[in-house]
Amino acid sequence: MNPAPSIVFFTVASGAGYGLLFWLGILRPLGLVPGGALFGATSCGLALVLVMLGLLSSTAHLGRPERAWRALSQWRSSWLSREGVAAVATFVPAGLFFIAMVGGNEGLAAPMGLLSAVGATVTVYCTGMIYASLKTIRQWHHPLVTPGYLLFGAFSGAALLAMLAGFWGAAAAPAAIAAVLGALAFALKRAYWASVDAAPPIATAESATGLGFIGKVRPLDPPHTETNYLLREMAFRIGRVHAKRLRGIASVAGFAAPTVLLLLTLLLGGVPAGMLAFAAAALALAGMLAERWLMFAEATHTVTLYYGGEARG
């Protein structure tokens, strides 16, 4: 599948933003992150900016962005519509959370924070289901895809919260959480890759053409001499050519290295801890971009069967 930059950036940025909102909403009432107005406004502000930049970026993928509001209508059947509804709905408690923290209204901040955490979880779940519900792409129609979206969002959000809390000299709790999530994310992604590599194709050139009763089917003449939309969008090959190296970069730079840095943060404390948490968050986000790019680039669509391509391996 073609890794459109707008979608790669959208899912990474909004995932991290919702992850940050989630952990702020949960950890703040527990007193595990600084409780002041400035920290609250900075963290919640960063989360909302990331979410809004992500949503804005996603509209760049639309042919008719001015009609984007229509996407809120079909929540009965469409995960994309549900994601839109959940994203818009989450802005309500998140906005109130922000205002309550700035105004020092703790009675409002705590419930709004928790509601924001719920909204963030639902939204990211819907994002994952958009991909996981597509049977045509076996690498996406996989039981670890939606848990992956949730875990990666939670991980990158926790890393961002650790970074911000590090500036206040209080990175311990979010850094510990982020380190655990980073290790889990590393394990999940490895398990996912092992599983998709071993899985059989969902369809074959023989079943796609109904000609299997004659024997093995191979293309003789393509229907067009130049490329077309289907091949550009759904027969992206560079990702699979370099898959091994890119997987290494994503899992080491995106998950393993930030996890180690976050563990060091716990040992060090003070200014070095803040700097390490910053580096960890930056690496985690960069790694998430690589992971997300790869998730598209490695995915094979059944339409390529008609062009003699991959949906086989």
Binding site: M1, H61, L62, G63, R64, P65, R67, A68, R70, A71, L72, S73, Q74, R76, S77, S78, W79, L80, S81, G84, I130, S133, L134, K135, T136, I137, I202, A203, A205, S207, A208, T209, G210, L211, G212, F213, I214, G215, K216, V217, R218, P219, L220, D221, P222, P223, H224, T225, E226, T227, N228, Y229, L230, E233, M234, H301, T302, V303, Y306
Partner: protein, 247 residues
Amino acid sequence: MTSLPEAKPGAKKLGLVIDLDTCVGCQACATNCKEWNTSGHMAPLPDRNPYSAGAEGVWFNRVHSYEAGEGEDGRTVHFPRSCLHCETPACVTVCPTGASYKRAEDGIVLVNTDMCIGCQLCAWACPYGAREFDDDQGVMKKCTLCVDRIYNETIPEDRRVPACVSTCPANARHFGDLGDPESAVSKLVAERGGVELMPELGYKPVNRYLPPRRAPKPDAGPPKEAGPLPSQITNPLLRWVDKVLSR
């Protein structure tokens, strides 16, 4: 509404039956499809660089050619690919706007281009590559089963069939109601063992493909007696007779 209409037994299911035995791969169906639809319901169908290198555009019908099997048992098969108007199309249910819909009255899957936001999720959801994106208008386009021909009272009744069907010189394309077991197309499918494409994905395509017939094995007959070589026949008249009859 992108929820699917309730499936009723005996409901009309308009679709195509494509005979892979007689299709000669002439591309007439693809060409006439493009010709009709570039001024029809989903018009225009854009083309980029139509007269130079890098020519590409939106087509609703693409004719592939495949080889199947090996050696004497192998066959070359021409294979037109277009929307199969599935009974449970994922391209419809994934649509966030309601632009993509399946008609309750005849099962045709259509796009309302006035509502489409061009998110392209439907193209990802279709296993058959039936949907192609129009960069100029920023909306998704697809086969309409020539909805603007088959009900069109301004054209003669016998021509109210999809453009691809009307133009096929090999009579390899048939149009009709596959929901009615007594229709000509349903009988044809039953008689020839018509198949669904990628049935394992479960979208229940309506269109059917008639498999190529197996070439009859030539009857070998009793083994032929070996005759003398022409050089062994000394009589010139007999040699001439042998030569003529051996042709």
